[in-house]
Amino acid sequence: MYNENIFHYLRTNKLPHIWCPGCAHGIITASILRGIDKLKLDKNKTSVISGIGCSGRTPGYLDMNTLHTTHGRSLTFATGIKFANPKLTVIDVMGDGDALAIGGNHFIHACRRNIDITAIIFNNNIYGMTGGQYSPTTPVNAYASTAPYGNVEPPFDIVKLATGAGATFVARGDAFHVALMDKIIEQAISHKGFSVVEIMATCPTQFGRRNKMKEPYQMLDFVANMAVSIKKWNEISEEEKEGKFPVGVFVDETRSEYCESYEENILKKVQRGEK
């Protein structure tokens, strides 16, 4: 997967990054850059936005129009950027707590609106930066700093949530199966409309340590084992599905995109002098 072509998209003077050794965030960031490179995106016309948390630091390393916003609210800024200048390619990088807890409202409405933004959720099942508190995707019974007896809250299924809310491209990958991740991220960026990509990520420092997976390879193993291809998913029993997630593309459909709708149904109408 080593690819020198992505180096020019990096602000190399900002490296090394702040992520812990063994963290998946670097793996996902490289995958995003390979997607950008494959699509030959102009970095002057690409905007990468993030919220707060370990994933929030991603844009800082990318030599583009970058914005590190507030916790959970990155999609609101992204919406303003895309809507005000639809010529920009807008990618929004979020964490699981970021996108689904504090940012849950913004997330479902961005899905519904179908604005042409690619939302990539680095799902490491935990609040990493604040010290390992349980998040809306922490599995039941997993340990977290605020779940010292094990988590009792059921997690969100991001794919189902995004699908139900109306996103027109929904996919899930994991940090281990990099070829698949590359493919779906590239597809997501080129999709016209709101795309959601969940990447099952690893956080050896905060999740792994508390859940008997303190070595990075153990955590990668963990996400690799959770991932089941959609085809296989449809063949296995309910019992076998326990604790696992299907990976691949779940939704890829065309529906009128928000900025285009506004242009066609409002701006052009007004220009023509219609009511």
């Binding site: 970095k43 002057n44 016309k45 914005l67 590190h68 916003t69 507030t70 609101t76 005000a84 409405h109």
Partner: protein, 379 residues
């Protein structure tokens, strides 16, 4: 040519925003500000602008900040409880130095309070609602005509100083209809933010080489840069180096305070010989104007000081008044917000500060102010 229109305060905000060059509105409906959103939804497409009703107040201001970063003049409007929700992103716009206009049509609080009744209870929220040390600009108009004027100024100041500017109106002047004189757009001074003159590779979004307010490049025009809500250095990247953080904090303060003389706006009526000066703003100032005239008929030398720029506060203007007046009477539709600032301003002088305040949803009438003037003057 001057056009004369009958407009409500909220309508005037819309007209003036379009005149100022506003091209983006992100907001959420809330009484008594909703007519601004409705007006912008109608008017923005006429100038090829964008209107979006977001999922909540936080999203409304977030989208507006995002739009501003692409170079569009952006605005949002709200009222008390919605203003509380927007505070997080007001802080972000201050830290990122992103131009933005926020209109807060004040209503009674706390909490849901009195949605359809007037109040002036957000003077302190406008100043200190967002966390951290910061400066910003807050304007308090008292008529529909002045709303029109100050909305344009709000955009100008926000573009010029790269700072969120708050237009603080109240339910009375927002819904009241008055005659407004509107000139052709070319008659108004319209300020657009400075764009960088350096080559993209030498651009830093917080570089103060050429002044305290660095030029802001729009996203998408070849200047690739980074903005964060974290403390940052001149390049825009995070730093916690105490010296650099101190420099940033001081500049964010000084770029407003050192330029205060350019927007230290206020109105004085019959202050020179006054024994008692009423301090009032917004709708309340209208009652106060009448009250001081009536007082003069009763041989009481009364005057009026009306802050137009509420923040930064005009301490020195009040201090000057305190040198000649015996007494200052602060009148406001709250339980004493500007009063405290006036007390700070007159500290060390012989001038006494009296107060008339109400937070029950009722306008303070000229008669009430008149009675209070008589009472405190012992006549």
């Amino acid at each position: 040519m001057t056009k004369i229109e009958l407009l409500s305060g909220n309508d005037a905000v819309v007209k003036a925003a379009i005149t100022a060059g506003c091209k983006f509105y992100g907001g959420y409906p809330i009484t008594p500000s909703s007519e601004i959103a409705e007006g912008m939804a109608k008017e923005l497409p006429q100038v090829n602008g964008k209107f979006i009703q977001m999922e909540d107040e936080i999203a409304g201001i977030g989208a507006s900040i995002g739009a501003s970063l692409t170079g569009a003049k952006a605005m949002t409007a709200t009222s008390g409880p919605g203003f509380s929700l927007k505070q997080e992103h007001i802080g972000y716009a201050i830290m990122g130095e992103i131009p933005l206009v926020i209109v807060n049509v004040m209503r009674g609080g706390p909490s849901t309070g009195m949605p359809t009744y007037p109040a002036q209870s957000d003077v302190m929220q406008a100043r200190w609602g967002t966390h951290g040390d910061h400066e910003l600009i807050v304007l308090t108009p008292c008529s529909v005509q002045e709303i029109f004027k100050l909305t344009i100024e709000a955009f100008n100041l926000s573009e010029k100083y790269r700072v969120p500017v708050i237009l603080l109106t109240d339910e009375i002047i927002a819904h009241m209809r008055e005659k407004v004189e509107i000139e052709a757009r070319s008659e108004y001074k319209i300020i657009d933010r400075a764009k960088p003159t350096v080559e993209p590779e030498n651009y830093n979004p917080f570089d103060t080489k050429h002044g305290m307010v660095p030029p802001l490049a729009p996203y998408g025009e070849g200047y690739r840069f980074h903005i964060t809500g974290l403390t940052h250095d001149h390049t825009g990247f995070p730093t916690s180096n105490p010296d650099l953080v101190e420099k940033l904090q001081e500049r964010l303060r000084d770029k407003i305070l050192d330029n205060k003389k350019y927007f230290n706006w206020y109105e004085e009526r019959m202050v020179d010989d006054a024994d008692i000066v009423v301090v009032a703003y917004g709708a309340t100032a209208r009652s106060a104007m009448r009250a001081i005239k009536d007082a003069r008929l009763n041989n009481i030398k009364a005057g009026l000081y009306r802050p137009i720029t509420m923040w930064p506060f005009g301490y020195e203007n009040i201090k000057k008044i305190a040198k000649t007046a015996k007494m200052i009477l602060v009148v406001e539709m709250n339980l004493g917000q500007v009063k405290g600032e006036v007390e700070r301003a007159v500290a060390g002088t012989k001038c006494k500060v009296k107060f008339l305040g109400k937070a029950n949803g009722e306008l303070i009438t000229p008669a009430e102010i008149g009675t209070k003037i008589m009472e405190v003057m012992n006549v």
